[in-house]
Every structure is written in structure tokens, then in C-alpha cells.
Amino acid sequence: MQADAGNIPSNARSGKGKTYDSRCAGQLHYNTQLLNDPIIDISHLDFAYRDQPVLKDIDLAVPRGSTVGLIGPNGGGKTTLLQLLLGLLVPTRGEVRVDGLSPRDATRRGNLVGYLPQRDPMQPTFPIDVRQLVRLGLVGKTRIFHAANREDLDFVERLIDRVGLSDAASTPVKELSGGQLQRAMIARALAPKPKVLLLDEPTTGIDRAGQQRFIELIDSLKKEMELTIVFVSHDLRAVTSVSDRIACLNVTLHYHDVPEHIPAELVYRMFACDLEAIGIRSGAHSEPVQLQISSRKGGD
């Protein structure tokens, strides 16, 4: 079956069925097996701020151990979807399950979901150092009135080393550069050994070389910790570099497939507003967009 942007069977769009674009037939067996027990399962999800619909009829199943890139234009609902996964927002309709739990219960467990927000911490001048910041990731996993156990503290030390901050472990957070702070925040998100890592626009504001290092770091951490990753970005290049599967979101979920096969027409339609804002008009879009996608795994 040839799936195009505007006419994708609902089961293929959701990723829950066995029928996929024939171009990714090689992945069919793998996907069907894993999708019997997706770690993230979103069904018939609607969300609206007052009367303004932000997400409509979203179906998405994320297999364990996969990396799903979530792309879409600014205002397309990507961050809102992450906030729903984190239990920070409540759906208007539909259901979200993370490892079989409601998002709020999942985050309260403290060791299921790790999250790297797009923005800086709310109080970046708070007087803590890198080690204390990373240890804050254990706070939900460690019971109230109890101290973290030795094994978790040792893991924090290894993480600090793994993200390249062992020399800066005692440096106050407010003295870190943007890149160092981001690596510290990644270590914080991974400190409780979560099963799921949610990354919200992690490459925004980072130069190409920094992006490449970040992608390599995420790739290796994913393998070491057997993570499932949801990578949200409007940067196609970054998403396609790291993801096994792509979901295109602009209020509704338009596509959900392996990254090589995103139709250029769809990408243009998804990003039309953004592209037109920088002077690219309809009809001249296919080739440049396709070029960006084909840069997968290639780096610079």
C-alpha cells in the first residue's frame, strides 16, 4: 500500500496496526512485535486550551527501546503533547498511558520518565553545584525523609563523568555555560535510570558541532541504558539524525514512519507557515526539504 500524506490508513497513521507503507516492509515484523506492548500508548487524544483545539484525535504507540522523533511547526502541539505525557496537562478527551500507568502516576514513581525541558531552569542562580543538580533527579525515586542509596549516588557520579562534567562537578550551576548546563540537565534526567526520556527541542540554540556531539551522546546513552526516547524538535536534521521513527504533528498526527520516507509534500505542508516566514514559497520546496531529510546519520 502506498501511503501518502493525505491518505494514510488510520492504523498505519497510529502505528498500531500491521499495515505499513510497503517501503518500510523490512521493519514490519519488528514493529508488530514491539507494538503489542508499547511503552507509550496514546489513543484518541484531544486537547484544547479553552475553546482553541491544540491536539485532535492523536493515536500514537511508541515501541520500547525506540527513538521517536516528533516534528512539526511552531505551535503545532509538540510541547503540549510532551506535557500531556508528563501529566502536566490533562487531556480533553482520550487516554495516555506510560508503561501502563497514567502520566501522573508514571512521574510520581520517579524512575520511569526522564525529561529535558526546552527552557532553562526557573531559578538558574539557585546556589547548588552540578553534583547537587544531578542528584535532584533522584528526588522522586528516593522516598520522602530518606537519603539516596549508595548505588544511586555512584551512578550519579558515573553519569557526571559520562556527560563530560567530572571536572565541573563542584561548579555552581550559575557558572556553567549553556552547553554544560544542558549536559548537566541530561544527567539529571537520567539519574533515576528512567525507561523513557522525553527531549523537548534539545538542539535549539546549539551550533552544528554541538548538535552532532549531543546526538552522539544521546545515541550512546540510549544503547547503554536501553532507553525509549521521544525527541521533539522543529529541526528536521536533528530529528532524522537520531530517530528510528518519525511522527509529524500539526494539531493532528500526520505521519508516523521511518525517517527516510517522509514525503516532501507533507513536510512542506507541515512547515508551510515557518517556511513562508523565511521567504520559501510553495512550488520551490520539495528539493531543499528532501535534502535535509537525506542528511540522516551523516552529520556535517
Partner: protein
């Protein structure tokens, strides 16, 4: 040493500890205006007590204003907590409205009381300007209990409190019950404000909550040091103010405490200016 002097010194030291610890969170969370709002709500509570005393003369006892002040300050703190979680009105605007309304209600009630009784109501000057002349043993015990409560809560819940203060959203995502921590901090802050109001008055009490933490965050970027410096600054301020008042009896102690702390702040500011 006179018992009342011993009570005064111990109570002020207890206040120095509790306010010094909370000051770090007040400063880093930019809650100075919250403290100001809670302290001025006390006058609204006292005004309510004076109105009740007018309507029910049998209730016109010294305890009534204290009870109403505590209740009003707690309501104000929880009201601030509720409003700051919503988005319809900014926290600053909400605090500004309640602060001014509390002061207005306090003055209003004081004038009505004066009109009917031809005397100022109990506690008007104390709640406004504070007094350090006659502190009871009961007040000392309450101050010590609040200091122990504040130190105990911060010691036992330090990881949750720090996580919340660094980033409330991230704390929630990490599994921290942020509403509980938010309200706990506001309640501790209220208890400190109410107890400090007795000696500092509602006008000057904010200095206890702002200056020590500000000096500490200027001097150090490490939490343990910041806490220690904040408490030390608070205690030096109290000791210095009481020393000035004992040397020159005509000077009020509460403003002396604030001015000593101001000197410490100016010293901290300029000594760390080159960093």
C-alpha cells in the same frame, strides 16, 4: 540577668535562626513581596479582632488579636499560594491588592474602635512597630518551637525543597509533590512572620526575611555556605541591634536590628563587587 532580658535575647536568637534559614528561599524564590504581603495581612487580622471585640465585648482580650493575626496571615499565605498557581492574576498584583486591602481594613477598624471606645485598640502599636520591652516566657517558647520546626522541616525535606526551589516544574516531573512543598514553605514563612511581627512590627519584619539571604547569596554560591552565612548574618543583626539598644536606651531595638543588617548588606555588596 533579668528574666525578660533573657527571654528577649533567646527569642531574638530563635527568630534569627528561623528567619535566616527561610531567608535563603525567600530571596532565591523572589518571595520578598510575599513576606511583605503576609506581614501586612496581620494588620487586617488585628482589625477583624478589634471589630469582633466591639460587637462581642466579652471577647475583648489580648489573645483575640493574636489568634486573628495568625489566621489572617495563614489565609493570606494560602491565598497567595492558590493565586500563584493560576494564571488569571499575577502573583505580584494579587499580593499588592490583598496587602493594601489588609492595611486599609486595619486602619478602618482601628478608627471605628477608637470612635466607640475612645482608646486605641489592644496591640495597635505592637503590630505596627513591634516591641521588645516585655516578652513573655510563652512568646519565647513559641519562637523556639518555630525555629526548631523550620530547621527540622528544611533538614528532613531538603531534597524536595531544593528541587522545588530550583525548578518547580522539573520537581513535579521528578515525582515531588510540589503543592505540598509550596504550601509548607508558605506556612513556615507565615509562622516566622507572625512571631517576628511581635518584636519587629509588620513594617520592618520583611528585613528579617530579605537581608540575610541576600547577603549570603552575594558571598557564596554553595548552598551549605549560603545557609550558614544567612543564619550568621541574621544572628549578628539581632545581636548588634540589641547591643545598640542596651547602650542607648532611647533608641528602638527593631530599627537598630534592621540598620545593623543594612551595614552587613552594604559590606557584602561592595566586598563581592569585583567577582
Amino acid at each position: 540577668m533579668d528574666n525578660s532580658v533573657a527571654n528577649l535575647i533567646l527569642a531574638c536568637l530563635a527568630l534569627g535562626v528561623s528567619c535566616g534559614i527561610l531567608s535563603v528561599f525567600v530571596v532565591t524564590q523572589k518571595w520578598a513581596f510575599v513576606g511583605e504581603g503576609i506581614s501586612h495581612a496581620g494588620l487586617g487580622g488585628a482589625g477583624t479582632a478589634w471589630m469582633i471585640a466591639l460587637i462581642f465585648p466579652s471577647l475583648d482580650t489580648p489573645a483575640l488579636p493574636h489568634v486573628c493575626v495568625v489566621l489572617f496571615c495563614l489565609l493570606m499565605a494560602l491565598g497567595i499560594g492558590f493565586v500563584t498557581r493560576g494564571r488569571r492574576v499575577s502573583a505580584d498584583a494579587a499580593i499588592g491588592i490583598f496587602l493594601a486591602a489588609s492595611l486599609a481594613w486595619g486602619f478602618f477598624a482601628q478608627h471605628i474602635y477608637f470612635q466607640f471606645r475612645s482608646s486605641s485598640p489592644f496591640g495597635f502599636n505592637t503590630f505596627f512597630f513591634g516591641q521588645m520591652q516585655t516578652l513573655s516566657l510563652g512568646y519565647l517558647v513559641i519562637s523556639l518551637c518555630i525555629a526548631v520546626l523550620v530547621a527540622g522541616c528544611v533538614a528532613l525535606l531538603h531534597k524536595e525543597i531544593i528541587s522545588y526551589c530550583f525548578d518547580p516544574v522539573m520537581a513535579r516531573v521528578s515525582g515531588v509533590r510540589v503543592n505540598l512543598i509550596h504550601n509548607l514553605l508558605l506556612i513556615l514563612l507565615t509562622l516566622c512572620v507572625v512571631s517576628a511581627m511581635q518584636v519587629m512590627g509588620s513594617i520592618l519584619v520583611t528585613a528579617l526575611l530579605v537581608i540575610p539571604g541576600t547577603c549570603a547569596t552575594l558571598i557564596s554560591s554553595r548552598l551549605r555556605n549560603v545557609m550558614s552565612i544567612s543564619v550568621t548574618t541574621a544572628l549578628f543583626g539581632v545581636a548588634g541591634g540589641l547591643a545598640i539598644q542596651s547602650r542607648w536606651h532611647f533608641l528602638p531595638a527593631a530599627p537598630a536590628v534592621v540598620l545593623v543588617r543594612l551595614v552587613i548588606f552594604v559590606g557584602s555588596y561592595f566586598s563581592t563587587a569585583r567577582r
